[in-house]
């Protein structure tokens, strides 16, 4: 009798351990790269961290399947390596020997991926669920491309520059025309003729007025 009870106990405990093994059909491999992510501030992976992981995963299952009360004991972990990788399977709270389907686990993890990552201060790359590809974040795409804005600013400045450069000499010319009288314009014509007679002198237009009077 005692032997039968012992055999039953052994069987049941064996059965309990069988669900989690490497390459389990409903399990996932997890890989953590804590030192890569955190460098000097890396924490040591120990039993407590593993407990946190199981608790976080139970939280993810609870959030996804509303109503079913997943507990830490429903997350079974095995095959830990020094690399910090391990396999896990999720048992259903309604039926302790039955495993939750792979697809359901995947959806639960996808939904709460951000929360799981931040619980461990890791990212999609450093906390990997082998087989669950992270959803890619789309690159930021503003409505108006920023380059058009800069282009507009530059063209505006350049356009203003063209107008200033083209208009300013016309404005100056107009101003000069109003000030000058006809006499001034005639004098210029006479000046050159006057100074031509004194070839040995220095040809200097600004003093031509005086020379004219002197010669007369």
């Amino acid at each position: 009798m005692l032997e039968k009870i012992l055999i039953l106990l052994c069987l049941s405990s064996a059965l309990a351990e069988q669900p989690c093994k490497p390459d389990a059909s409903d399990g996932y491999k997890v890989r953590l790269s804590i030192k890569t992510a955190l460098g000097d501030e890396a924490y040591v992976w120990n039993e407590n961290e593993m407990f946190l992981f199981r608790a976080t995963l139970a939280f993810a299952m609870r959030s996804h399947l509303n109503g079913q009360e997943f507990d830490v004991s429903n997350i079974i972990v095995c095959d830990e390596t020094p690399r910090v990788t391990f396999w896990f399977v999720v048992t259903s709270p309604l039926n302790t020997s039955g495993l939750v389907d792979k697809g359901v686990v995947e959806e639960a993890i996808r939904m709460s991926r951000n929360r799981i990552n931040s619980a461990f201060l890791l990212t999609d790359k450093t906390l990997e669920f082998i087989g669950i590809t992270p959803t890619l974040t789309a690159p930021v795409n503003p409505d108006t491309p920023p380059w058009l804005i800069v282009f507009g600013v530059v063209m505006g400045a350049v356009g203003a520059g063209i107008i200033v450069v083209l208009v300013s000499p016309l404005v100056l010319k107009k101003r000069k025309k109003n000030e000058e009288t006809d006499e001034d314009e005639e004098e210029t014509g006479v000046k050159a003729v006057e100074n031509g007679s004194t070839r040995e002198g220095v040809y200097n237009m600004s003093f031509s007025d005086d020379e004219r009077l002197t010669q007369m």
Partner: protein, 651 residues
Amino acid sequence: MKLKLPNPGLDDRIPSHGDLEKMEKEEAGDRPKWDNKAQYLLTCVGFCVGLGNVWRFPYLCQSHGGGAFMIPFLILLVLEGIPLLHLEFAIGQRLRKGSVGVWRSISPYLTGVGIASMLVSFLVGMYYNTIMAWIMWYLFNSFQDPLPWSQCPLNANRTGLVEECARSSTVDYFWYRETLNTSTAIDEAGGLQWWMVLSLVAAWILLYVCSIRGIETTGKAVYITSTLPYLVLTIFLVRGLTLKGSIDGIKFLFTPDVNELMNPSTWLDAGAQVFYSFSLAFGGLISFSSYNSIHNNCEQDAVLISIINGCTSVYSATVIYSIIGFRATQKFDDCMGNNIWKLMNAFDYPENNITDSNYNEVLAHLNQTNPEIIQGLELQTCDLQSFLSQGVEGTGLAFIVFTEAIIKMPVSPLWAVLFFVMLFCLGLSTMFGNIEGVVVPLQDLRLLPRTWPKEVFCGLTCLISLALGLIFTLRSGNYWLALFDNFAGSIPLLVIGFCEMFAVIYIYGIDRFNEDIEFMIGHKPNIFWQVTWRVVSPLIMIFILIFYFVTQISKSLTYLVWDQESENFPTLEARPYPSWINVMIFILAGVPSLAIPVFALFKFIQNKCCKKDHNDFTVDTISAKIQMSDKMKFTQLDDRLDQGPHVPRLA
């Protein structure tokens, strides 16, 4: 060598020394003048120092034996660059005209040289400003964080990155797809890319506003465009030296390999680089120095500008390679990190068990124990030297390699803006010289009414260049630009440069030239100038021209395409040109070069059949007009004095 070809009527065509002194004192106002010497020097330095100093010289230096390349470069700088520069400065200052005017004064048969200069300036200006448009596009895109060339866009299903981007790299994708939207062959024109057209319009309008009145406006602009690049280079040097791996880059650049000196192509490339780097034969330098006062010391200027140009090349090579060293080290670290990651994950080693130092031993050990797993991992070989020597010249350097380095630096948008502003200033100051080389001959040729103001000439040039430059905004635009760069900006310049030398020394006459220089700067040019002008520089030019010609002819005409279907993607694939490209090559290289003999022939025929008077060849350009009108007034006065007492029209 006292060879001098007969040149009748030369004295009638050029102002004599006495006339020059008079013009200097009168300050005859029609010809523009520099505000001060600094403006002139900055403009010339800006014209000479261009994009080639930043992206051609470092590549040549590194690929031809590093520090050893300095030897042929410096030797040819002294024997070829400085004499030619001095020659152009002196002849422009003496004859006081733009390129067409100068050569027409020396001999009417040489007008073709000036016209060839104008054509080359026009063609080069067309494609050079397209590069400016690309720089502006990148500059406009630098005002955002993260930079657009740091990320791949997602594909349509949002399941992964766009395939083209994932296979090549983010910077490649941004350059070839989002900027150029390049097609796979030069015949596949594609359509006009509207964003490129906008950038091109911006580039030409900006150039127009800066050069609208010739040196009056460019003279003000060069205070910024010529000095800013040096400031930015210094900032980059300081930044670069604080980055990891920069010293490797500088060491790679300057490590001498003396065996390269035996290779003739090293000397050929050095000679070509010196020649193109000085922007000789474009006609712009002749124009610029013609605005100087007659007694300006052009010898000093030539030596000074040559030294500045050479030093800038070396300085920018140092800066560029410090950043390239940083990029190569980053890529090497990424490559190693990737391999270590794969090994760690495959064999479940704890993190930091495999480091860079023990990687090789661990790999060897694992290869012995589990060779099949190692095979399956597809580890890449990481070699720092190969990363350092990745194709780093031309647009590839600026838009692919350097942009990649920038995204790895902290505060990337700042560095991107600084870098592209520097490139923009370098290019803009060179474009000033190009525009000068087109507009002034256009005015001198009197094809359009002389009463039109300079603004109109400038505007027309910019407008026509913009219209024709739209070809570079097609999808195949990049291939067209490479074609222009290879053929329009190479052989014609060498031909024109040689003709210039020959014309001044043997047609104008070295004796007369020596006297002119003695008149201008006070002493005759010494034996160095005599030897280089008469013998050494023309010989070097001929050698380079012949070798260049031979290598171009013997090379099969291929060009590099970006083709996703090719086997070596993302490496560019060499494809032969279609046969009709030979017509284009003839137009680009042949027409300017042939303009010289064709025009000489045309003038000869005109002379013989129309039997015009030699007096008609007297110069008709603006500065001479004043001279002529003064002469006329002197003769009028003589007539009047004969008539009787002079009665003033006033009072």
